[in-house]
Symmetry: D2
Subunit: 398 residues, 4 copies
């Protein structure tokens, strides 16, 4: 009955077309759902930043466009801007770790060759990834200061929302991508059924966008962790944003939820897949203000996979899992003959950053599930939100 | 004066809009220009196939759309279909070698992960690569037999034709890409100022599309080279297609042309770049009917770089050089649980294929230069065709 | 007091020199300690093979030499032979996944290029890895049938046992490595403080060698899983062997042991490191009789990292984590011009193998900890065995 | 008759055992043979440094041990020290480019992960590579200042000298490797039949060690090329050292020698291979004082392959071609928490360095052939030195 009522209430929201606000149209429901820390869950040693979001890394902006239209369109766009300036002229050091490259991450090879990211990072659905990359290229060309720029290495990732969304309809338009980029801001980040996570499914439940952050202590952890640019006694920050569409055995903060709680088919007529499937993918974006170079950022990116494992990934063949990492501090000016001098942390000094990235990835994935609301969509398919009452019960019983 | 006259004659052709024929609108001029073998040049030990083109590999199709419009549009699309059937349902083993990944090859990471190519390979200009990939995705979704297919790993490469073409105008449309794919056929392949080579520049001269092939002898080279599927006594075939937009010290069949013959500025008003620049890129596609797997195809692809070196590449940072290789014989059915049994050549047996690939790449690059015609384009820039009379003289004098 | 008594009993065993038996000299203690399944723990969906060891994969042999000498030598060798025959003449398809390549895996680049393993896989300590590789080369050259063989791509991995072992003494000799290779057999595999695990430390506890296996069901899982070579109705087998020397937050079968149970310093004089350090490394070897090619084996190898994560890896910079995978069914004869025809599983069909590899890796790591006995060694350092009584308590209380 | 006389004169020299001097025992003959520039040949735009050797890069040291013993031992060791200090404590930024990883380069994976080289780079024969790595590990452990160092990522490459050398005899001893490292100096570098090139064969002729360098102009090439640490007006330096054992179609400074001049069998009893074989390998080491990071060094390393192509490589499967590159300016202290601040050249500014590396590689390979003397060795096999009189004739006739 629960799902039926949710169905009705969602039916009301789907009258809303192309919502360009950072809050999804189903904001009221979303607000009602907790984040992991609201349930008393904690992940690892370090404390989150004030927003517990990727936007805790100074300068990082996020914008999202949610597309819920009629019965069949459940998709969207999430854009991450490494800084508010002209990214082509003032690139950031970046890296990609392709754990399972069964996915269409546009732009990764040049990022690996040059160690630079020169555009916003955009997430969307699998078949719209190319249109989104074209939008990024248009955006680059149109940016003030890029008058003669003849290229743009758009960096666009995706997961497949074809269960809930009419993915073959190519519903993401250039204007949607530009909307997400242009509205990007450094406020709290909407999670769950929003942006590129509008139609995704994880562990058989409704997945979506999630985020989390960590602030490393400046003291007691070695000089490397001290952030000379930060006010007060604060170390570097790591922020993570995920688009969850993968599966396995759902484990929340170490608790094996999958043993007690599994998504149900609501009707024998409904095709079961992918409710219990581990297929699907996960896109992970890591931002930091620590002054890492591209090689170190690739090492950092690789750690996020351990966070996926903690939540229960079983590494299925069809799960295209990529991690993108960038440093807001390590900038490369397009027209300079030399880069500004930069002191890198030693490799050993990276371990706390690695650990923080794993913890924040784990928490971001859990947030994406907790905040997501039940969605009915394409051809009547649906994905239930993780049932909160039962979940609280399981956590208390622990 | 020569260049001025060519300017006039080209001025006539640029009235022609979007030409969907495989022969460029400037066909008359193109026909008049020789291929390398017409000049008595030879490259390596093995003989070319009957067309001396990538289409000598049975089943491989090429289609090109040349966009010459007004004063500023000089670009186009070249599409290579590994076989005439449904590529998503009947994939080919494939690999990418990213020698210098300063370029936007869409689709390479999934090709590397799965060892499969599931779409036509499309070449175009740098800023249109995403629109072209979107077109490929649309084509995949629309193919008969792909009714429920929710994804498409479009494989689209590019070089930057921004010297001659208004690249910031995004002039390649979805219909242009579909046109190239749909008209693809197994006939001779137009070279020079055509398709994705319409606006490219190589070694300061007009570059473009070039192709060549090699047929390995079936006898005297070990059992591996015998092609059991071929009629008569013929071994496996290697075909190469290039889009040349790179530079260095032009060397033709071992002759250091660069010492005697260099492109000139026609006016002190004309910006010199990139006439003597080694920047720019080269896309190389290798087809074979030898039954290689993805790992072996990557090894084969890597050899093409040696062919670039022979023509004089100086490996500049800005030259984004990628090689794509596929086997028409090693097929992977989308819906099969197991692949058909396949016997691979031993690694040692690959050496003749490697040598043939280098030779064919060298010849294809030379063909792209010989067949290209002078082009005037964007903002009055031009690139001269390699002057034939002087070239013949230099070769005779050798 | 416990550790003191153990110290005394170990003091007795260390009179034993170079033990060439597969059972360590401290066999009595080892026998007394349980494997994970003896504690009622289970990992994942699939059942282990009869030995729950890498030797459940038909043909795979393991041999170990344990070096416990005087006060300071605590090291050894573990050798895995993919099949009992001449490996150079009859190679197996193989792959390496370098998750964190801060480690000295000799031989990986050629394995990646050719997709072949042509020697036993040997594990030892960090500084002895080169001497062990030399021993493998000598072994290859001396093998009957290799009369003119002029090369050997020895594949030798390591972790750093310098806390308990006088690693700078280079105590592993050629004869030790040959001993491990030559005594290799397909029986049960000794775990814990044995072979290459004699001096390793994991999660601050004594780590070592661990193993586990999975047999995939032949029915109900699609044709791919059926093993046509197996008697009865059995599917393919996956076997895993680990050398554990890494750290993080110890988690056993989902239970966060690290919260309740942490290794103690026995004296304020003892240097604390690495008892609570996450540094150190993990070597993982995966065998299967499923007919995978090198690319697929690399995908399989990558999944083992998820197993490390489940046990609590925090991915520290210094943890050099490599996975080696091979297929006993996919053979490459040295002198053949073509390989035997082979049908590969489809990529989708790999998912059950991936899941089994993760589960078996998790269980192998836990076995390495459970079976390991307390060791005192180099400069009086020690590492305690995981205390069983307390562990049983924690598991029961769950 | 020529080769017979050379045979006699070499027969005299082979009484000399283990020669620890940087000049080979056959020094007199070697002195008589020219380097490429002595023949009036030039390669590329930039000028060599004063020694035209890798030792033109300030601080770089080379040491070689030549092993010519009895009838069958023709091998040796070449060691390159990036700087004279303690390399473990004061590492250099480094990278490996594995063009064709059919070869046993020990140490490359850690170099790639950490971007650091922490030992001398040693070259030797294929089967001795592991013993040489062990020697490097012993050397590291014994270095003053490394009292507690528990690891050493030895970086040791090889080519297969099994045609002229009794490679299966493992004749390179630890003391030979230590000898090469310890005698390393910054003087001129002996070329040809010396060190790790004592028994190698290239293009069917006697190959060996070769070297060359380039000094980039400080003026007129952009600020990047200016070396602030150099006296006078000198830019950065690139130095290359090669161990040639590969083949193809020998081309010297653009002249197709292979068409006119091919090695002969001296007797029908002599097995022909590998006199006309393209198999075998090439190891290339690039040093620079330009302040590149590991990613940029990998890009630089990749360019050397174009130099191999210019001399005629046909890229055979069996040619294991690796390039190692390091920067003497980009240092990483073992114990520092952060690196010293470093300004990197922009990617565009790398192009002159890339071109210089290609040119120097080409010249170093030619030097290795020109300076090599005829060698008779294992089982009576021989490799002729490139015949100088005929070569001069061919060059003059050009």
């Amino acid at each position: 009955m629960r799902t039926f009522l949710l169905h009705l209430s969602l039916a009301a929201t789907i009258l809303a077309v192309r919502t360009f606000a950072q809050q999804p149209s189903s904001a009221r429901q979303t607000e009602a759902r907790p984040r992991a820390r609201d349930l008393g869950l904690a992940f690892g040693l370090y404390e989150p930043g004030p927003k517990n979001a990727i936007t805790d890394v100074p300068g990082v902006l996020v914008g999202q466009v949610t597309l819920i239209e009629g019965e069949n369109v459940r998709t969207g766009v999430t854009a991450i801007r490494p800084h508010p300036g002209n990214l082509f002229q003032d690139k950031v050091a970046g890296a990609v770790f392709a754990y399972n490259a069964f996915g269409k991450l546009v732009g990764s090879t040049q990022v690996t060759e040059l160690g630079q990211i020169e555009t916003p990072i955009v997430l969307t659905n699998t078949l719209s990834v190319f249109d989104a990359a074209s939008a990024v290229a248009h955006w680059t060309v149109a940016e003030p200061g890029n008058k003669n720029v003849p290229r743009s290495n758009a960096l666009v990732g995706e997961t497949n929302d074809g269960w809930l969304n009419d993915i073959r309809g190519f519903h993401v338009k250039v204007s949607d991508v530009l909307g997400a980029i242009n509205q990007a801001n450094d406020g709290p980040v909407a999670e769950g059924t929003v942006g590129a996570g509008t139609g995704t499914v994880a562990f058989g439940w409704k997945g979506g966008i999630g985020t989390s952050s960590r602030r490393l202590p400046a003291q007691g952890s070695g000089d490397m962790l001290a952030n000379p640019d930060a006010k007060n006694d604060v170390g570097f920050t790591i922020g993570v944003l995920v688009q969850t569409n993968f599966g396995g055995r759902l484990t929340i903060a170490g608790f094996p939820i999958w043993k007690e709680l599994q998504p149900q088919q609501t009707s024998s007529l409904e095709p079961p897949a992918p409710l219990n499937s581990a297929d699907g993918s996960c896109m992970i974006v890591i931002a930091t203000d620590a002054p890492l170079d591209a090689r170190q950022l690739r090492r950092l990116a690789a750690r996020a996979i351990l966070g996926m494992a903690r939540v229960g990934s079983t590494g299925s063949s069809g799960s295209g899992d990529y991690v993108i990492a960038f440093s807001t501090t390590n900038r490369i000016a397009q027209d300079a003959t030399r880069t500004k001098p930069l002191a890198l942390p030693s490799e050993d000094a990276l371990s706390p950053l690695f650990e923080a990235a794993i913890d924040a990835t784990e928490e971001a994935i859990v947030n994406s599930l907790l905040r997501a609301t039940t969605v009915y969509g394409f051809e009547g398919h649906h994905a239930d939100a993780l049932p909160l009452a039962r979940l609280r019960q399981l956590i208390r019983a622990r």
